[in-house]
């Protein structure tokens, strides 16, 4: 059960910890920030999220969706202290310690929920929850790697944040790129130039969004309109 979230000072201390790690410091994760009354504050409603080891970001997402299913999530959506606190809670999995004791954290907005709209979708926990909440198994292809791995495919689809809101668009991508045997995306999907890769999918979407209402399109609509270069992923 999680009963507290970071306050402003706690967020600042967490951010400084990340910046110190990025500068080469070797430090233990300051989990105490989540319980110290100077750096944290109580949640209005405790959330049923236990600790645990997660093999993939998708597993973390399933855990979050289940744990948050019984609370009103609207007030939490933009809550920097809550989502940053969860990233701190699982920081050792999001940014594991290497054999020499150092770590390799990404930029702080991957852990601290950013106020900047360009960086907000990069938050490792918030975006994971959002995607699994909305798309369930159809988000698996985006979240199939370990917690410490930033998803290359998400990065590409975030060329337009709007795309992540379009149900048919994501479900069509899942049908195209998810390899159920490997439980990750298909080989060649994350390329930059190969025909039918996600990068090409995004470029094609940018073209058709001028004419079509992407939000209301079903997965079948996308799949039927796609040019032939995507056939190789349909057929695998």
């Amino acid at each position: 059960m999680i009963e507290r979230k970071l306050n402003d000072y706690g967020v600042l201390k967490f951010e400084r910890f990340i910046e110190d790690l990025r500068a080469g410091a070797k430090q233990n994760t300051p989990h105490f920030l989540l319980t110290d009354h100077g750096t944290s504050e109580p949640l209005e409603e405790p959330v049923d999220l236990g600790s645990g080891e997660f093999e993939t970001r998708y597993d973390l997402g399933v855990h979050l969706v289940k744990g948050l299913s019984s609370v009103d999530t609207q007030p939490l959506i933009g809550d920097v202290g809550f989502w940053s606190g969860l990233a701190l809670y699982w920081f050792d999995q999001l940014c594991p310690v290497k054999a020499d004791g150092s770590r390799n954290p990404s930029k702080s907005y991957n852990y601290i929920l950013s106020q900047d709209y360009k960086h907000r979708p990069r938050h490792s926990v918030f975006t994971t929850w959002q995607l699994v909440e909305k798309y369930d198994r159809d988000s698996w292809f985006l979240l199939s790697k370990g917690l410490h791995v930033r998803g290359e495919l998400i990065e590409q689809l975030m060329a337009r944040q709007y795309f992540l809101s379009c149900d048919g668009l994501i479900r069509a991508a899942s049908q195209l790129y998810f390899d159920s045997d490997r439980k990750t995306f298909k080989r060649g999907a994350s390329g930059r130039t190969s025909p039918g890769c996600v990068y090409r999918y995004v470029n094609w979407l940018k073209q058709i969004e001028i004419n079509y209402d992407l939000f209301s399109m079903s997965a079948d609509d996308f799949l039927s309109l796609m040019p032939a270069e995507f056939d190789r992923f349909k057929e695998v």
């Binding site: 402003d8 967020v11 600042l12 951010e15 609207q74 959506i77 933009g78 809550d79 920097v80 601290i112 106020q115 709209y117 360009k118 907000r120 979708p121 975006t127 959002q130 944040q161 709007y162 992540l164 809101s165 001028i210 004419n211 079509y212 209402d213 939000f215 209301s216 399109m217 609509d221 309109l225």
Partner: protein, 250 residues
């Protein structure tokens, strides 16, 4: 010079055709309402109207019936959005007569009428206090209107400082001016209605704006340099700052 060609014939819905208002419902939940004054002459009466409310990467979409029969949903609560900052709206009018809906008219980055900063109508920037962590100030462009000059809300009397403190003004304004002009040039927004005022202001300071579509980056950056230099010269920013600091030393 016209830089953007509308190949699709899609009509731009003007902001006067859609008036959006925000209000709080019982329990404190935010909701919106819409007054339509749509010019329907070029729109099929069967075309569907959708309004999307969005903030960062959260979005809610509402169906408002058709052009010929507008039907507001009973519940216009914004209960799935990130409400930590201003909510923007998109309007999409979609011809759904074929299998895949085609966009025939749209408007983007609309602000609710109650969300306009009345004090800033005549200025180039809207100035706001925001939680910015350790960042002292920044320019925010995704606002639905003119760019926002955001000052860290932890700075005491931040907005007053910006209005009255020469130190703030001389260090922030030239850099913010440069940032906006770079954004306009980089994003090719010279024709954008919102930035026309900025372009006029900048051309007043440095008239020789490179307007040729083939102008290279260096030419544009040189022009921005001239604008900033002229701005600083006009307001004698460096001299005023030095003078004020010397006074402070006495």
């Amino acid at each position: 010079m016209q830089r953007t060609i509308n190949h699709t014939g899609r009509r731009k819905i003007e902001s006067r055709e859609i008036q959006i208002h925000l209000h709080e419902k019982q329990g404190g939940r935010l909701a919106f309402d819409v007054d339509f004054s749509l010019d329907t002459r070029s729109l099929p009466s069967t075309a569907a109207i959708y309004i999307e409310a969005y903030r960062n990467n959260t979005l809610q979409r509402f169906f408002f019936g058709s052009v010929g029969h507008i039907d507001k949903p009973d519940d216009l609560s914004l209960d799935q959005l990130d409400l930590s900052g201003p909510v923007l709206f998109r309007v999409r009018i979609v011809d759904e007569s074929e299998r895949v809906g085609r966009l025939i008219a749209s408007a983007d980055r609309l602000k609710a009428s109650g969300d306009i900063d009345e004090d800033s109508r005549a200025s180039l920037f809207t100035v706001r206090k925001r939680p910015l962590g350790e960042v002292t100030w920044k320019v925010e462009f995704e606002t639905g209107g003119k760019p926002e000059l955001c000052i860290n809300d932890k700075i005491p009397a931040a907005i007053e400082q910006l209005k009255n403190n020469v130190l703030f003004q001389s260090l922030i304004f030239p850099a913010a001016l440069r940032e906006v002009l770079s954004y306009i040039c980089h994003a090719d927004l010279e024709e954008d209605e919102i930035y026309q005022e900025w372009i006029r202001f900048a051309e007043h300071l440095a008239p020789d704006r490179p307007v040729d579509g083939n102008s290279d980056l260096i030419e544009k950056l040189n022009w921005i340099d001239e604008v900033v230099e002229s701005f600083c010269k006009q307001f004698e920013l460096s001299s005023t700052l030095s003078h004020r600091m010397e006074e402070g030393d006495d």
